[in-house]
Amino acid sequence: MEETTSARLLRQTLGGETPSRPPCLCPGGMMNMMTAQLMDLAGVYWPEAHQDPAVMAQLAAAAYENGLFDNVGVPFCMTVEAENMGAGVDLGDRYTEPRVTRYAVESVDQWEELHPLDPHQGRANTVLEALSLLHTRCPGAVLMGNLTGPISVASSLVDAARFYKELRKKPENAHKVLDLVTDGLIAFGLAQIEAGAEFITISDPSGTGEILGPKLFAEFALPCLNRLCEALRPRCSGVIIHICGQLQPIYPQLAQLKCSALSADAVVNLAQLRAAIPGMVVMGNVSTFALAAGNAATIRTLCQNSLKQGADILAPACGLGTTTTLESIRLMMEAVRSQEEETHAAH
């Protein structure tokens, strides 16, 4: 019998089988899992970990090796793609994530000035090298590559408010930008898989149903996300999509997503979501505010709620705050492990 590794649990979950317990993930990328305590434990820190593949791998491995999550995941930010395509980035400091400080272009009209994403350049290449290192170092782990979603990348290349307006006012050129971005993301995703990532998570915090509404989500976000799924899924064991905020306005559009699993925010009622998109594997949605606040009883209840409402994969609802304690994070893994004991007890 195949050994029950973290990676196998997720393969089973995404394949529609019933694993011995739900996987517990925090993918990386926008879904940040790095905290001050974890950096202390790993002995390496931001911002070096954003730039040096060995340091990146060392930090990513810490979450898995200390039993916090079933996965390792890189990178630790959502600026790699935009920087590669021409945006200016401030890498932040020990406790602040990198952020875009200069847009690549002023308007979608200048789409031709954007650089095509080259996965073997700059910090994109750092991510690839870190993935190769992690592939050797953590054989049983879920090896998660991360991509910033198309709308989020595009709204880092053009000022977000401007970009949102141009979706309506200059739809043709907005599509041109998104096509370029999606081509780049496919190239980066395939390169991550080539480097050893077995799964890919795409997080699109700027492309939510709450922001775009169903019409623009269907016209702009959905086709890009599905193009990514179609290109990446046949080459890896699964593609997870995370969309922030309330999902209700876009349930019909979400039902058309071609991902392996959908990850939802804390405001989403997972039972309702499951009913709206039958057959989809659902991941979520423990409040990161509750995790940061650190009340153990509350966190335990929230983990149980997510699982009871039908989370197939337990995960924080968003990226973790860097002040979240290891004790609080461990409660999530404790919750999925208690399910394993229940399964055993039932037999």
Partner: protein, 216 residues
Amino acid sequence: MAEKDALLAELARCVLEMEDDAVVNVAKEYVEAGFDAYEGITEGLAKGMEKAGQLYEEEEYFVPELLICSDAMYNGLEILKPHLKRDDSSKGCGVLIGVVEGDTHDIGKNLVKIMMETAGFDVHDLGRDVPVSEFIAKAKEMGTGIVCMSTLMTTTMGNMKKVIDGLVAEGIRDQFKVMVGGGPLSTAFAEKIGADAYTSNAAEAAKRARELVATA
């Protein structure tokens, strides 16, 4: 009168229907006809923005639509603002205005600012996402006047009370009238946190500010 009403309706429609270029000519036509700029804002542009806000709440409009509506409103304001007749009755009275920390929604605040200026107040705009300490520091500098705070979010409403508590702690609460406004607020909330007034729109805010100063 029919022409004025038609132009006011057209100003509102331009804002509501995201006509951010067309609104400019309508606003010009309105002022060239000699109609009152103040009403052009309250009965035209602001009405359109109010309806856009309603559509947003009803999930007919989303962020991109609302951004273009507000562009249309600001484009119209640019034309109307120079034609506002300044009323000198409240001259010399300072108004401190800002969106409380954690919130960046400033359309309502900006409208109130324009109305307050038109009513003759001396307005200090702290902008949006303003920390409690900044309100207090500026209030201390002013010594007396009106403090206006707004927020559109329930999560940041608590910061209004912190500002009031700060004024109390500094011993200057009695030197100021405190006014609050924004989507989730109510008169009951204003009373609960110890504010002097809640108003539901910009024109009402300016009117109420005058009354507060007159009775002070």
